[in-house]
């Protein structure tokens, strides 16, 4: 087999509760800014999307109308990534650009659902009731705004990314695997250039209900992720993050400037019935990643839910020299988007020659004075799936 090709991150698109674009995020992180809304879904806490003018990346109103919020967020972030990579509108490249999207589904029409449920509970529903209400009340194109693979579909329609298109599903793990497969395809020559990422709308009551079933939502009071020992939970966040990853030779041939190198992505599915399984899994992934320096930097997608966050902490306490940053504190939990978010912030930090400051009263996150050359991105899903990536500076 030929040696694996080097893969560069040449485009980053990010929109979140902290704003849009790289400069806005760099400034917000350095100012340790956190944007939470404790009122709108009280007692639940969410990190709402910062005001965004979708027209800037999705010029046709008709396209915007065909999408649910998560698709608009993702299509917007994908456009930012293409701009950042300098390939926006380049039909030749876009026509052969591969795409791997990690996706959940779109929001339900809660007014329709609630009307149906209320009628059922009052007992005025015959056998045809559900059928008739759904037939009459569902917006015909709502399905397309909910379908998982239609984020990729919308990115193809709006931006013209039309090589291959795959949508991975499965919460946090979906995007870790998306990054892994994107990298493996580039390293092996199966792809020259790939758009990879995810989007999440955290301002959704139907998601709060889903996560409330197992008591995962953060309630009443916001605390940084590492300070939720006695008050565990995640605060859903809205964010869209896409990366353009390409082989070094492809990037050099078109004169593209890299932010960082994506050197490795490793994933696991720990059987979590055993206490300590996640800690063990992360330790094994750390070894597989190529044993990064113990005094390096690590960006964690820690959720703040238990027991997984404590298991992550146990892993981190075995690597005390690492400067850790938790994206969950600043951005909330963005499910499929959390891992691409970590990759984006790692690449951004490496390209700026500094790690952004800690945002953590517990002291787990420490200052990092020196210029980082390697950043590990870590993800452990709220219920399953673990992974790590190694992102390195290009000198």
């Amino acid at each position: 087999m030929t040696a694996p090709k080097e893969a560069w991150i040449t485009g980053i698109g990010i929109v979140s509760s902290l704003g849009e674009g790289l400069d806005a995020h760099w400034d917000a992180l350095n100012a340790q800014r956190i944007n939470v809304d404790e009122k709108r879904f009280a007692p639940y806490i969410v990190h709402p999307l910062a005001p965004v003018s979708f027209d800037a990346q999705i010029p046709k109103k008709g396209d915007q109308r065909q999408m649910e919020a998560w698709q608009r967020i993702g299509t917007y972030a994908a456009g930012l990534a293409l701009d950042s990579a300098g390939v926006k509108g380049d039909r030749e490249i876009l026509g052969r650009m591969d795409m791997i999207v990690a996706a959940g589904g779109g929001e339900r029409d809660l007014a329709v659902d609630l009307a149906i449920l209320n009628a059922y509970m009052k007992g005025n529903s015959g056998p045809a009731f559900l059928n008739e209400r759904l037939m009459n009340d569902l917006r015909p194109t709502l399905f397309l705004a909910q379908l998982s693979n239609l984020l990729a579909g919308n990115i193809a329609i709006v931006h013209g990314v039309s090589g291959t298109s795959r949508t991975f599903m499965g919460e946090e793990a979906a995007s870790i695997d998306a990054a892994r497969i994107a990298l493996a395809r580039i390293q092996s020559g199966q792809s020259d250039i790939t758009l990879v990422g995810a989007a999440h709308n955290g301002e959704r009551t139907d998601l709060l209900i889903l996560y409330e079933f197992d008591d995962f939502n953060l309630k009443d009071k916001f605390d940084p992720v590492w300070a939720r020992d006695k008050h565990s939970g995640f605060a859903l966040g809205s964010a869209g993050v896409f990366l353009v990853i390409e082989s070094r030779e492809h990037a050099e041939a078109r004169g593209a400037k890299p932010y960082a190198r994506l050197s490795n992505v490793v994933t696991d599915l720990a059987q979590r019935k055993q206490p300590g399984a996640v800690t063990k899994s992360l330790e094994a992934l750390w070894s597989k990643l190529g044993m990064p320096k113990d005094n390096g930097a690590l960006i964690s997608g820690a959720t703040g839910v238990e027991p997984v966050t404590s298991e992550e902490k146990a892993f981190l306490s075995a690597h005390p020299g690492c400067a850790v940053r938790a994206t969950g504190t600043s951005f909330g939990h963005t499910l499929e988007t959390q891992f691409p978010l970590g990759l984006a912030l790692a690449a951004l930090s490496l390209s700026r020659g500094a790690l952004f400051p800690p945002n953590d009263p517990t002291g787990l996150e420490v200052e990092m004075a020196e210029t980082p050359t390697q950043i590990v991105v870590m993800g452990a899903g709220h219920w399953q799936g673990e992974g790590m990536a190694l992102v390195e500076a290009i000198k």
Binding site: L117, K122, S148, V161, S162, S165, D177, Y211, L269, G385
Partner: protein
């Protein structure tokens, strides 16, 4: 290989019924059909799960086909499959029976969403979280069958089954693994799923008789028929399979994929993405169109798909498009959506094994605009060395496979 469709469980039963031209489509009895425009589907009624849910049935169907496939492959040990899992599965969400259970826990009348939220936590509905996670079916299969690494759940709409196979092929070609378990499953015939497709005017409304509804390539075709099913394939590198003395059922000679960026549900009118997809697949296999001697069509029986499939095939195959046998399994088993690409790849491999092509049934009024040889109504013995299996889906998803009996 393992397969379940509305015609039955297992390769033997399905092959017998497919080549007899039987239909698995019937009037839905799982839930009331009052008020629906389309009342038939290819439901798998001989498998039930408790408590009932589409995701639960989807998972059970995947179990059944995986057990059949692993039994035939004789690879690894029980609960210890030596490779990764690629699972094509429908998007997941909380379903109506569960939604109603939660509503029943609310004590007041005229409740709003905050009242729903207030009763959702506290442990009464804990299993619903796991059941309705997108990664739940893959997590279950990975644990049960001991696949290696993080399992991948994927959706490329109606092309999902083909994409699962494609991901397995790519992993083997990269040398990451000698074997991959590729599973595609769909048990999602429920009222809302049916209504969603109905509202997009995608479904046939020729309800009577239900067996006659799915009419691929016919002039009077009026949409697809929703169906359930699952398919599982154990893929191995050819060298590894030969080395362990495995019985090789066929070869995935080529895979291709090309996105259509024209519209959310319609193909580009010039057919270029389909043509490009077929060309990429041929190139991947290192084959010319002349070497393909049968096409297992996507053939959904929507007016749009069948027309575009002919346009794409005829652009690549030229005059041969009228001679090469092109049949649609969906005429008998309906459209198994997320599972279709894998179910139809398996039927393609059975076609190669038996040298017999299943028919396109319900072909009574040919569409003169689609002059395919559709193998009308009756199975046909034929020399078949290479089959192209096509899958095209919402969101511009196009994927094709070329399957052969022997390595090319």
């Amino acid at each position: 290989m393992g397969v379940v469709t509305s015609l039955g469980a297992g390769k033997a039963d399905n092959w017998k019924r497919l080549t007899a031209g039987e239909s698995g489509i019937r009037t839905v009895t799982r839930f009331p059909i009052d008020g629906l425009k389309s009342t038939m589907a290819g439901t798998v009624d001989f498998v039930t799960v408790d408590p009932p849910s589409s995701t639960g049935l989807t998972e059970r169907l995947a179990d059944i086909v995986t057990e059949e496939a692993l039994g035939q492959a004789g690879i690894g040990r029980t609960g210890d499959f030596p490779g990764p899992l690629f699972l094509a599965v429908a998007p997941v969400e909380v379903e109506w029976p569960q939604r109603l259970e939660v509503a029943r826990a609310i004590s007041k009348s005229d409740f709003d969403v905050n009242d729903v939220l207030a009763v959702s936590g506290g442990g009464k509905f804990t299993p619903y979280h796991r059941r309705f996670m997108f990664g739940s079916v893959a997590g279950h299969l990975a644990e049960k069958f001991g696949t290696k690494g993080s399992p991948i759940s994927l959706s490329t709409a109606c092309a999902s089954g083909a994409t699962a196979i494609q991901l397995g092929v790519e992993a083997i070609r990269r040398g990451e693994t000698d074997a991959a378990l590729c599973v595609a499953t769909d048990g999602s015939v429920n009222p809302e799923a049916l209504i969603r497709f109905s509202l997009l005017s995608a479904l046939s409304t020729q309800n009577d008789p239900p067996q006659g509804a799915s009419k691929p390539f016919s002039k009077n075709r009026d949409g697809f028929v929703m169906a359930e099913g699952a398919g599982a394939l154990v893929l191995e590198s050819y060298e590894a399979a030969v080395a362990r003395g495995a019985k090789i059922l066929g070869v995935v000679a080529g895979c291709g994929e090309l996105t259509d960026s024209f519209h959310r549900t319609r193909s580009s009118p010039d057919g270029k993405p389909i043509i490009g997809c077929v060309h990429k697949t041929l190139a991947d296999a290192g084959m010319t169109p002349e070497q393909v001697d049968h096409i297992n069509a996507h053939g959904t029986a929507t007016p749009e798909n069948d027309k575009m499939e002919f346009l794409g095939i005829s652009a690549v195959f030229g005059e041969r498009a009228k001679e090469i046998p092109v049949s649609s399994n969906k005429s008998m088993i309906g459209h198994t959506i997320s599972a279709a690409g894998a179910v139809e790849a398996i039927i393609s491999l059975l076609t190669l094994e038996h040298q017999r092509i299943p028919p396109t049934i319900n072909y009574d009024i040919p569409d003169p605009a689609i002059p395919f040889d559709v193998v009308p109504n009756v199975a046909r013995d034929a020399r078949v060395t290479a089959v192209m299996s096509n899958s095209f889906g919402f969101g511009g998803q196009n994927a094709s496979l070329i399957l052969t009996r022997e390595p090319i």
